[in-house]
Symmetry: C2
DNA sequence: CGGAAATGTGGCATCGATACCACATTCGGC
DNA sequence: GCCGAATGTGGTATCGATGCCACATTTCCG
């Protein structure tokens, strides 16, 4: 407010009034007890008589006391902030995941520090370092590199990997049941008479793509159909690329149905089919893994596998909190969230 | 759970190895200087010779030192965490907003603590209290209640309101240029010969809805068209409700075009039009404020007003950081982010 | 009814980094 | 060659809450 100190300080004046916030001391004085007692009365369970507790709480309320998390964290060497590292918040998959995580964390009294790493290993690692600096007790990450979860764990931070697994990490992990989901989806098409099914996929090194591919193969095997390897079209994680890849696939091969391995690729595939004025599902069926809202808004609505993304997020958070609270045995946990086939208008009988 | 007593600690053993992290002291020893010097060499500008600075940084690197933000924050009475309070991460509008905010914050060396308040005043207020406890220097909020920004400011926290303004708050605010955007959109329809345009809108008390409604009216006025008040259909912020409201509107009145005030309402409107098998835009034109991805995927693609949501997020963050750094005059800032009309296939000439 | 156990509260040191001041050195100018 | 300024570094107190121990008081039981 007024220039503090007697000599005119050259520092740009604080825009905001400093606002002295009440401390434990102030509450103690107000309630007529010691600071220790205040601390116990407000937070620690037990160790304070109901009378005192009530008095302290009233006093705290009265003077508007709010615990300083920084001080608390420093002293108790923990924090109630949880790091969440995802690739792209603008992708509804990640947004849903984050929403689920946040909901559960908040319910447990934790805060979510959200970082977008844009799928870039360098940004991911730097974010991890920041989280280390914040002394977060745990991190939920959709990993880009195995190095990141590794580094966090080496520093005593609990890690839950979401959606995918890189190599065999030592961290807990929550996955969609990719194999079953993809198999179910593929079988749905096979049952409709499709024998030449294209698969548009971006990666198969992570558990996610690998699982979906495995499910695709398994469905074929179960039905005594050979997989034509040429119909598995590898592309990059990008709608435009997916569109071009789809174009090439359709130019070079006959397919009666097309599966895209995720919501982004589906955009590209759909764009190409529309561009070709192909009647869906009369001339070609289209289906996608990972149900997102637009898929039920387009005409015809897309048949998809709903991987319960929000629930997946909740699972991640529940698992992490249980770990932090020490409620789990040291053994690594793997949670598979069931995937559900949602049949809509975009899939139909194979053209004769 | 178990009777807490001193005998036989019932507390589950810590799952994680404690992991002693190096402190400033350790770095000091390693580099052969004092802790004070380490602190200055690593963070404060000036006050350390290049030689020492290099030596200290090398030492820090070598032993894997990471500053403890809690300690730093406590001592320096600040924090590099910024609170972000939004209504619904699953709505692409908020997700984009958050993505823009996060990007800019991270670039400035800040972290984003994201809280979903679900549009609930109680949750919002509680979240604000948590942020107070974290001693965040600033908060970006899409306010539900004026009380929340108020309370934060009273406690010396800088606040930027995003997307809307409640009453005349004292906080900085970043808005879409709702009036211009809505006017442009409406004029586009009028130019196509539409004279009976329906407006589907959820609220007009906040600046957002009020602005869009004002733009709608202004466009009519500019073209010497009277607004038929019956064509302004008030609904609630919910796709299903919007659908029912649309149904009622179409049952009761003739309209040749329909504008929905945001992306959620657009879903309901579109669903109803499809249900009625109305040819868009031949029989009725449809347009929406707030362009989100699905709007260009549906057939026909929707004419919209793109409010540059990501950029809006970035603006919020830039404004807040400038405020925190004391670079701004005390005067309250209002930033209007331009809105851009995007004409697609869903709007066409008015039927005969 | 006495002593041991249980119970509740206060005192004090501490978490780790940094603000601030004191001081040692170097440097420049006359 | 001397003195005052400039520069860089070390020492120490401190931010605010809490863990731990000591101790006063009450309760319990033989």
């Amino acid at each position: 407010m007024s220039p503090r100190g007697q000599a005119a300080r050259a520092v740009p004046p604080p825009t905001q009034a400093p606002v002295r916030r009440p401390t434990v001391q102030d509450v103690a004085r107000e309630a007529g007890v010691s600071p220790s007692t205040v601390s116990r009365a407000l937070h620690t369970r037990g160790y304070a008589s109901p009378a005192v507790r009530a008095r302290v709480q009233a006093a705290a309320e009265r003077i508007g006391y709010v615990t300083d998390h920084n001080a608390r964290n420093l002293r108790s060497r923990t924090s109630t902030s949880i790091g969440v590292l995802i690739s792209d918040l603008r992708n509804p998959f990640y947004a849903d995941l984050a929403a689920g995580i946040e909901q559960e964390l908040r319910a447990g009294g934790y805060q979510m520090v959200l970082v977008n790493d844009n799928g870039d290993p360098a940004e991911e690692l730097q974010a991890a370092e920041t989280l280390l600096a914040m002394r977060v007790p745990g991190v939920i990450v959709t990993p880009v590199t195995a190095k990141c979860p590794q580094m966090l764990q080496d520093n005593g931070v609990h890690v839950v990997c979401a959606d995918r697994e890189l190599g065999r990490s030592k961290s807990d992990v929550v996955l969609s049941d990719n194999e079953s989901g993809a198999r179910e989806l593929t079988e749905h098409l096979i049952a409709l008479g499709h024998a030449r099914i294209g698969l548009l996929i971006d990666e198969t090194k992570w558990s996610t793509g690998a699982g979906r591919l495995a499910g695709f193969r398994a469905a074929h095997a179960d039905n005594d159909l050979a997989v034509d390897e040429d119909l598995i079209a590898y592309t990059s994680f990008d709608a435009d690329a997916a569109r071009l890849t789809t174009r090439k696939l359709l130019n070079d091969h006959e397919v009666t149905a097309l599966i895209s391995a995720n919501n982004v690729l589906a955009q590209g595939a759909l764009a190409e089919l529309k561009d070709r004025r192909l009647k869906i599902p009369r001339q070609i069926s289209l289906a996608a893994y990972d149900d997102v809202p637009w898929m039920s808004l387009v005409q015809p609505a897309l048949t998809t596998v709903d991987q319960s993304t929000v629930e997946m997020g909740r699972s991640c958070a529940r698992l992490l909190l249980a770990r932090i609270r020490g409620e789990l045995t040291p053994k690594r946990r793997l949670v598979k969230v069931p995937a559900r086939l949602v049949v809509r208008g975009s899939t139909g009988p194979a053209p004769r």
